[in-house]
Symmetry: D2
Subunit: 341 residues, 4 copies
Amino acid sequence: MVVILKRNAEHEKVNALMRQFEDLGLKTNLVEGTETNIIGLIGDTSKVDEQMVLANSVVESVRRVSEPYKAANRKFHADDTVVDIHGAKIGGGNFGVMSGPCSVESEEQIIEVAQRVKAAGANFLRGGAFKPRTSPYSFQGLKAEGIELLLAAKKATGLPIVTEIMDIRHLDLFSDVDVIQVGARNMQNFEMLKQLGHCNKPILLKRGLANTIEEFLMSAEYIMAGGNTNIILCERGIRTFETYTRNTLDISAVPVIKHLSHLPIIIDPSHAAGIPWLVEPLAKAAVAVGADGLMIEVHNCPAKALSDGAQSLTPDQFDGVMQSVKHLLDVEGKKILPANC
Amino acid sequence: MVVILKRNAEHEKVNALMRQFEDLGLKTNLVEGTETNIIGLIGDTSKVDEQMVLANSVVESVRRVSEPYKAANRKFHADDTVVDIHGAKIGGGNFGVMSGPCSVESEEQIIEVAQRVKAAGANFLRGGAFKPRTSPYSFQGLKAEGIELLLAAKKATGLPIVTEIMDIRHLDLFSDVDVIQVGARNMQNFEMLKQLGHCNKPILLKRGLANTIEEFLMSAEYIMAGGNTNIILCERGIRTFETYTRNTLDISAVPVIKHLSHLPIIIDPSHAAGIPWLVEPLAKAAVAVGADGLMIEVHNCPAKALSDGAQSLTPDQFDGVMQSVKHLLDVEGKKILPANC
Amino acid sequence: MVVILKRNAEHEKVNALMRQFEDLGLKTNLVEGTETNIIGLIGDTSKVDEQMVLANSVVESVRRVSEPYKAANRKFHADDTVVDIHGAKIGGGNFGVMSGPCSVESEEQIIEVAQRVKAAGANFLRGGAFKPRTSPYSFQGLKAEGIELLLAAKKATGLPIVTEIMDIRHLDLFSDVDVIQVGARNMQNFEMLKQLGHCNKPILLKRGLANTIEEFLMSAEYIMAGGNTNIILCERGIRTFETYTRNTLDISAVPVIKHLSHLPIIIDPSHAAGIPWLVEPLAKAAVAVGADGLMIEVHNCPAKALSDGAQSLTPDQFDGVMQSVKHLLDVEGKKILPANC
Amino acid sequence: MVVILKRNAEHEKVNALMRQFEDLGLKTNLVEGTETNIIGLIGDTSKVDEQMVLANSVVESVRRVSEPYKAANRKFHADDTVVDIHGAKIGGGNFGVMSGPCSVESEEQIIEVAQRVKAAGANFLRGGAFKPRTSPYSFQGLKAEGIELLLAAKKATGLPIVTEIMDIRHLDLFSDVDVIQVGARNMQNFEMLKQLGHCNKPILLKRGLANTIEEFLMSAEYIMAGGNTNIILCERGIRTFETYTRNTLDISAVPVIKHLSHLPIIIDPSHAAGIPWLVEPLAKAAVAVGADGLMIEVHNCPAKALSDGAQSLTPDQFDGVMQSVKHLLDVEGKKILPANC
């Protein structure tokens, strides 16, 4: 950490600040420039509160030079984390494909979709039981019943299931769920993250619409700090000024996160774009850029979907996308492993 | 709602879509253009799911022409909502000033700050008991004990208290709190919003960092749909590419929200800017632009604050800010009413 | 175009407005709703000034339903435009690779780089003679001499050259340049665009950092309106809140633009990311998403580059990137055609 | 400047880099940490090219600790710059109000508007002769004739005139113009800025839609580096995800720029908001936040304006705004000085 001092900062106060850092077990190094003096801090600065330093009257600004996350940091964990769910793996050369409808609507619907996505090559079934909707007047999901229906589809197809938690009070309902999803809007719901750190299920953590890559990794760190290291990250678009697409897919986030962290990262082109004909090119780009998987919305009848129909593929369209994806995976030497649930 | 049809959309399918709308009790009106045909929908379209319409194969795009919120909409509630907490009012010409430390740290601290901000003219005490922090290694607040200390400060000064809820499971701890704050990161924690709709306490709802004004009002609508109409909105900066300030204060949001909604809206210049010397000019701008109040961080010793010290004012600095603010409030004919707790 | 009227708009004024539209040769269609009335306009609305309509006292808002661009619109020109420079083609299945240093620095440097990028498979040489720099104290390019050196490299290698114009007064200097680049900062330098519409050289138009896809196509339309239809578009990252990468590559812009327009579009991963190790994954993603080409910075000695060294590849690194790119191009059935200058 | 080194950077290469800095006349200071080593650079680093440093194989990242602008920096020029145009002053407690139509349309129109805005208290007449329009099919301004009409209005009213230059080849036409405006889209048209640095007219420099405050000041620095120090900055809204307003007024930029620079800064609420009823609250906020002036669009008949009618005020509306503004200026102790042209 580098502390930039104000011009004409009083010597005495600077010395007091340096002693304060030394009391925290850090070594300090004062560099006196022509215009600006700085203090270099040596040691574990992850617990130094930037805000407190900034509030000191002699401080102009503060720059971190090392990452504030440890457990999620590749520097301290060089090998790729591989999340393994009954044999379906994500990370380390294994590609995961999570597909299914935005909302679970009926047993018939979810089983039909599950069979179709499995046949096309997906190795996970996703479906919403609890649905975050901008409007209180929109369909809010089948809730507990939705989870029952997902479990029925799992039984019918053997696909592990992924579904979103919206309230930590519902955690008990997720005991047979294979992967618990934390949605973009809850990426910084810190109390939920802490609690999930103490459960022993894989977590699919989606990036918030306005969150930096560093904040994204800090949210993973929240879960990991509790002991749960089975985390799959998911880039699903960020909010920008562009309005043609629903969000802007930050595809660079994939290689950046693979550089900074050992955690697997997948892409959700359905939410990123919000347009079904963009799913195929973006899914192909996801493979090419090095993502560890995809999450794609598929609905048996998008025009009658109770939510997000606009961005869902039909099973036939999904077949086409998966052919392209599998073709590219061969080129990249990656494979999709099916689970044996 | 206006539905723009694809070029060469088949007549039959367009008719089927129109019948679908008519089945929802809407009147339809087909306008045939030279390049594009559109369907105008007449009636209450707030329950029409845009996504479902977009998923129809003949639809190019959909444009809403009326707002999706009803309870929060000024069109259906012309008069300003005035939130009244033991006589301290916000809205309708009454200005509220909520001040205090980011985190409650000790009884001595919170009472000292409460006395100072009251003396300076604030009519609410704010303080964090549960703290949302980006890092799991940062101080997370005194929690239940923090609320006890706020209540002690309320007893000592008569100031109503405002504090943030981070987990709806904690709601019981808030039974003596006067205003429950929903933080920016929870603005779309819909399960929390629904629950707060059923409690009978005023809610201070902060705008999310990446949320539009319409989404902000939809989150208020979530609470109001449950029956709780005592809502104070708070603009606290949005995320943009500018990095000099912590966030970018969207000051235009104040007159826009006053135009669209009857709910009171205040400004938090401390979080918007993240820099103490920006609080005074932004607080003055808040009064001038027509805000109904301010939330300002004040700490007895910012350089020792356990969180957000960098943006806190000292009590002496706050005295200066309040003099400027009160001067401008006189010009605008607004007043700060003290509570009689 | 759909004009949404204010509630309680006076009948007379609405009629006057409708007559105004009819005077412009448009047909009008009044749709009376329960809450809102709208006017649908039929005919060529591309010349209707939205601002003027919005200024009418009965108008609440205006929504375009057809694109404001014509010449660049795929609706009126279904086939891909192929830009052909002495046999090196871009568009319609032909992939263009433009490589070279940010700044031309010396004859030796530019010829060495040209030979290396040609050997690696690039079919264009790019290099900056006039350099847009944020600081007036930074190196501003070799200017006219830089163009001379590029021409020398063209002579030595047969690669057509691409270089940026920063001031339309310099146009004469570009008479032997093969492709004139308009930089991101000049995307809405409308006087320059108009002038380039009257020259007969291919134009490489880069997207502005804060410009929407629609504005990007409108800038192409400016050039095309003058008669010059040889335009290559280039996505090079937009500005967002994320700071890890220099900009955020908007990869979705490629399939969106290919849907909306017939013009070829390439990707510049060097400027989008600003980090050399991101060039390879982003270049691969560019091929997979369907881009028509790449622009990549290559410098013989990045650490001594007079500008943008940080994001440049060495020739050896570029060899590696091109191997991956060519491998994927084979999969996609696209080819790089060399010029015969 | 602080250079953060990669972990395990080879000693020899680090030494070579340090010698490289020393050759530029800088002192270096190596700080060896537990995780990271850094080099602190002492001396005038404004000419060090960050990109070139970043390209060195031992460098992880670079952080500037002093501002890259000198002439525009308040650290080297403590007193407010006051721009004086025939007695109408901007800066140092003097408030400037620039009003008039987006486009000059006719002699009658511009003289009528000039008389009305002068009567209301404006001390500058603004009007567009050359108009930057997103569409090539929109009205592009009266050009040279527009400047003639502005001069006629100046003669009739004594108001100094402000008008935008879009092409540096037109500079001769501006010989009798009092203030030359550089529009947002040309903020980084560096060749234009350099040229304007050599002319002896005050420049009104508007902030680009996606430009940081630092880049804004660097563009002022470009002009100042040429010798022209008469610069008025103008904040006119930046581009964000919010779509209700045309842009997002970054009101914090005013006190930030007054902190960093001695140059005067005004606000343009018309372009920032794009909605006439937002002009008054934003103009009041501009005064309260400490701006040195306002630029406001006024048109005799907005609904017939050839450009930007939607955001223009009528002269009667402008009278009302100016009453509020003058009232607040009294409170702030600032004055509007009329020119004696």
